[in-house]
Symmetry: C2
Subunit: 110 residues, 2 copies
Protein backbone atom coordinates (compact mmCIF):
# COMPACT_ATOMS: atom_id res chain seq x y z
CA UNK A 1 0.00 0.00 0.00
CA UNK A 2 1.37 3.47 -0.83
CA UNK A 3 2.47 5.76 1.98
CA UNK A 4 -0.26 7.88 3.55
CA UNK A 5 1.59 11.09 2.79
CA UNK A 6 1.81 10.17 -0.92
CA UNK A 7 -1.87 9.28 -1.09
CA UNK A 8 -2.87 12.58 0.44
CA UNK A 9 -0.47 14.51 -1.78
CA UNK A 10 -1.80 12.84 -4.95
CA UNK A 11 -5.39 13.60 -3.99
CA UNK A 12 -4.45 17.15 -3.08
CA UNK A 13 -2.84 17.62 -6.51
CA UNK A 14 -5.98 16.32 -8.21
CA UNK A 15 -8.08 18.71 -6.19
CA UNK A 16 -5.78 21.59 -7.14
CA UNK A 17 -5.44 20.86 -10.85
CA UNK A 18 -8.81 22.13 -12.04
CA UNK A 19 -8.67 24.97 -9.55
CA UNK A 20 -5.39 26.22 -10.94
CA UNK A 21 -6.81 26.67 -14.43
CA UNK A 22 -9.63 28.74 -12.98
CA UNK A 23 -7.14 30.80 -10.97
CA UNK A 24 -4.90 31.33 -14.03
CA UNK A 25 -7.83 32.54 -16.12
CA UNK A 26 -8.96 34.85 -13.31
CA UNK A 27 -5.47 36.32 -12.88
CA UNK A 28 -5.26 37.05 -16.60
CA UNK A 29 -8.15 39.50 -16.59
CA UNK A 30 -5.18 41.84 -16.42
CA UNK A 31 -2.19 41.32 -18.70
CA UNK A 32 0.74 39.51 -17.10
CA UNK A 33 3.90 37.76 -18.24
CA UNK A 34 4.73 34.28 -17.02
CA UNK A 35 6.88 35.11 -14.04
CA UNK A 36 4.53 37.88 -12.91
CA UNK A 37 1.63 35.47 -13.13
CA UNK A 38 3.48 32.87 -11.05
CA UNK A 39 4.19 35.50 -8.43
CA UNK A 40 0.57 36.64 -8.39
CA UNK A 41 -0.56 33.03 -7.90
CA UNK A 42 2.04 32.37 -5.19
CA UNK A 43 0.87 35.46 -3.31
CA UNK A 44 -2.58 33.93 -2.97
CA UNK A 45 -1.16 30.56 -1.93
CA UNK A 46 -1.28 28.82 -5.31
CA UNK A 47 2.28 27.82 -6.13
CA UNK A 48 2.71 26.38 -9.60
CA UNK A 49 5.86 25.05 -11.27
CA UNK A 50 7.08 26.64 -14.47
CA UNK A 51 6.92 23.18 -15.97
CA UNK A 52 3.19 23.10 -15.33
CA UNK A 53 2.35 26.74 -15.95
CA UNK A 54 3.84 27.23 -19.41
CA UNK A 55 2.18 24.20 -21.01
CA UNK A 56 -1.10 25.33 -19.44
CA UNK A 57 -0.71 28.82 -20.93
CA UNK A 58 0.09 27.38 -24.36
CA UNK A 59 -2.91 25.11 -24.16
CA UNK A 60 -5.28 27.89 -23.07
CA UNK A 61 -3.95 30.09 -25.88
CA UNK A 62 -4.39 27.33 -28.46
CA UNK A 63 -7.97 26.98 -27.23
CA UNK A 64 -8.51 30.67 -27.91
CA UNK A 65 -9.01 31.60 -24.24
CA UNK A 66 -5.85 33.71 -24.02
CA UNK A 67 -4.02 36.04 -26.34
CA UNK A 68 -0.30 36.69 -26.02
CA UNK A 69 2.17 39.24 -27.25
CA UNK A 70 5.97 39.58 -27.05
CA UNK A 71 7.05 42.96 -25.75
CA UNK A 72 10.14 44.49 -24.28
CA UNK A 73 10.03 45.46 -20.61
CA UNK A 74 13.07 46.42 -18.52
CA UNK A 75 15.22 45.74 -21.61
CA UNK A 76 14.01 42.15 -21.82
CA UNK A 77 11.59 40.57 -24.24
CA UNK A 78 8.69 39.06 -22.37
CA UNK A 79 5.58 37.28 -23.49
CA UNK A 80 2.49 38.88 -22.03
CA UNK A 81 -0.74 36.93 -21.68
CA UNK A 82 -4.27 38.17 -21.27
CA UNK A 83 -7.77 36.72 -21.31
CA UNK A 84 -9.52 36.90 -24.72
CA UNK A 85 -13.22 37.76 -24.88
CA UNK A 86 -13.86 34.03 -25.36
CA UNK A 87 -11.74 33.40 -22.26
CA UNK A 88 -13.82 35.87 -20.29
CA UNK A 89 -17.00 34.01 -21.23
CA UNK A 90 -15.49 30.63 -20.28
CA UNK A 91 -14.16 32.05 -17.02
CA UNK A 92 -17.62 33.35 -16.10
CA UNK A 93 -19.18 29.93 -16.71
CA UNK A 94 -16.43 28.05 -14.86
CA UNK A 95 -16.73 30.45 -11.94
CA UNK A 96 -20.46 29.72 -11.77
CA UNK A 97 -19.65 25.96 -11.82
CA UNK A 98 -17.18 26.45 -9.02
CA UNK A 99 -19.71 28.29 -6.88
CA UNK A 100 -22.31 25.57 -7.41
CA UNK A 101 -19.80 22.79 -6.62
CA UNK A 102 -18.62 24.66 -3.57
CA UNK A 103 -22.15 25.05 -2.20
CA UNK A 104 -22.62 21.31 -2.63
CA UNK A 105 -19.30 20.35 -1.11
CA UNK A 106 -19.56 22.67 1.85
CA UNK A 107 -22.76 20.87 2.76
CA UNK A 108 -21.15 17.45 2.36
CA UNK A 109 -17.98 18.17 4.31
CA UNK A 110 -19.28 20.28 7.16
CA UNK B 1 -9.52 25.38 -32.96
CA UNK B 2 -11.81 23.09 -30.92
CA UNK B 3 -15.45 24.04 -30.46
CA UNK B 4 -16.21 26.40 -27.58
CA UNK B 5 -18.66 23.98 -26.01
CA UNK B 6 -16.02 21.24 -25.96
CA UNK B 7 -13.41 23.51 -24.43
CA UNK B 8 -15.77 24.54 -21.66
CA UNK B 9 -16.86 20.94 -21.08
CA UNK B 10 -13.26 19.71 -20.82
CA UNK B 11 -12.37 22.42 -18.32
CA UNK B 12 -15.54 21.74 -16.38
CA UNK B 13 -14.64 18.05 -16.16
CA UNK B 14 -11.16 18.92 -14.88
CA UNK B 15 -12.68 21.19 -12.28
CA UNK B 16 -15.07 18.43 -11.21
CA UNK B 17 -12.59 15.54 -11.08
CA UNK B 18 -10.86 16.37 -7.82
CA UNK B 19 -14.13 17.55 -6.34
CA UNK B 20 -15.79 14.23 -7.00
CA UNK B 21 -13.22 12.31 -4.98
CA UNK B 22 -13.83 14.62 -2.07
CA UNK B 23 -17.61 14.21 -2.44
CA UNK B 24 -17.30 10.40 -2.65
CA UNK B 25 -15.21 10.26 0.52
CA UNK B 26 -17.67 12.58 2.30
CA UNK B 27 -20.67 10.48 1.22
CA UNK B 28 -19.01 7.33 2.56
CA UNK B 29 -18.96 8.51 6.15
CA UNK B 30 -22.05 6.32 6.11
CA UNK B 31 -21.97 2.91 4.47
CA UNK B 32 -23.40 2.80 0.95
CA UNK B 33 -23.35 0.44 -2.00
CA UNK B 34 -22.40 1.66 -5.45
CA UNK B 35 -25.83 2.45 -6.81
CA UNK B 36 -26.92 4.10 -3.56
CA UNK B 37 -23.79 6.24 -3.62
CA UNK B 38 -24.45 7.31 -7.22
CA UNK B 39 -27.98 8.30 -6.25
CA UNK B 40 -26.75 10.24 -3.22
CA UNK B 41 -24.28 12.11 -5.42
CA UNK B 42 -26.87 12.79 -8.12
CA UNK B 43 -29.23 14.22 -5.50
CA UNK B 44 -26.68 16.90 -4.69
CA UNK B 45 -26.02 17.62 -8.37
CA UNK B 46 -22.89 15.49 -8.83
CA UNK B 47 -23.72 12.97 -11.53
CA UNK B 48 -21.01 10.37 -12.07
CA UNK B 49 -20.90 7.50 -14.57
CA UNK B 50 -20.58 3.95 -13.31
CA UNK B 51 -17.51 3.68 -15.50
CA UNK B 52 -15.88 6.46 -13.50
CA UNK B 53 -17.25 5.64 -10.05
CA UNK B 54 -16.28 1.97 -9.74
CA UNK B 55 -12.63 2.44 -10.69
CA UNK B 56 -12.49 5.34 -8.24
CA UNK B 57 -13.92 3.17 -5.44
CA UNK B 58 -11.43 0.39 -6.20
CA UNK B 59 -8.59 2.85 -6.21
CA UNK B 60 -9.64 4.47 -2.92
CA UNK B 61 -10.00 1.04 -1.35
CA UNK B 62 -6.57 -0.08 -2.60
CA UNK B 63 -5.18 3.08 -1.02
CA UNK B 64 -6.72 2.05 2.30
CA UNK B 65 -9.18 4.95 2.44
CA UNK B 66 -12.26 2.74 2.10
CA UNK B 67 -13.27 -0.66 3.34
CA UNK B 68 -15.82 -2.79 1.56
CA UNK B 69 -17.95 -5.82 2.31
CA UNK B 70 -20.29 -8.01 0.24
CA UNK B 71 -23.69 -8.43 1.85
CA UNK B 72 -27.13 -9.50 0.82
CA UNK B 73 -29.83 -6.85 0.75
CA UNK B 74 -33.28 -7.29 -0.83
CA UNK B 75 -32.17 -10.78 -1.92
CA UNK B 76 -29.24 -9.40 -3.87
CA UNK B 77 -25.55 -9.43 -3.05
CA UNK B 78 -24.22 -5.91 -2.90
CA UNK B 79 -20.83 -4.51 -2.14
CA UNK B 80 -21.01 -1.90 0.61
CA UNK B 81 -18.32 0.74 0.98
CA UNK B 82 -17.44 2.91 3.91
CA UNK B 83 -14.68 5.30 4.93
CA UNK B 84 -11.82 3.69 6.90
CA UNK B 85 -10.27 5.58 9.81
CA UNK B 86 -7.41 6.45 7.47
CA UNK B 87 -9.99 7.70 4.98
CA UNK B 88 -11.53 9.90 7.65
CA UNK B 89 -8.17 11.51 8.34
CA UNK B 90 -7.50 12.09 4.63
CA UNK B 91 -11.01 13.49 4.14
CA UNK B 92 -10.49 15.97 6.99
CA UNK B 93 -7.23 17.19 5.44
CA UNK B 94 -8.67 17.41 1.92
CA UNK B 95 -11.70 19.29 3.24
CA UNK B 96 -9.36 21.82 4.88
CA UNK B 97 -7.51 22.14 1.53
CA UNK B 98 -10.79 22.69 -0.24
CA UNK B 99 -11.83 25.45 2.16
CA UNK B 100 -8.49 27.21 1.74
CA UNK B 101 -8.62 26.94 -2.06
CA UNK B 102 -12.19 28.15 -2.06
CA UNK B 103 -11.36 31.22 0.00
CA UNK B 104 -8.60 32.04 -2.48
CA UNK B 105 -10.71 31.41 -5.56
CA UNK B 106 -13.74 33.31 -4.32
CA UNK B 107 -11.49 36.35 -4.03
CA UNK B 108 -10.07 35.87 -7.51
CA UNK B 109 -13.37 35.27 -9.31
CA UNK B 110 -15.64 37.72 -7.58
Amino acid sequence: MPQDADIFETLRQELRRGTLILAVLAQLKVERYGYGLRQALAEVGLEIDEGALYPMLRRLESQGLLTSEWREEDKRKKRFYRLSSEGEAVLARLAAEWRAMNDTLQNLIR
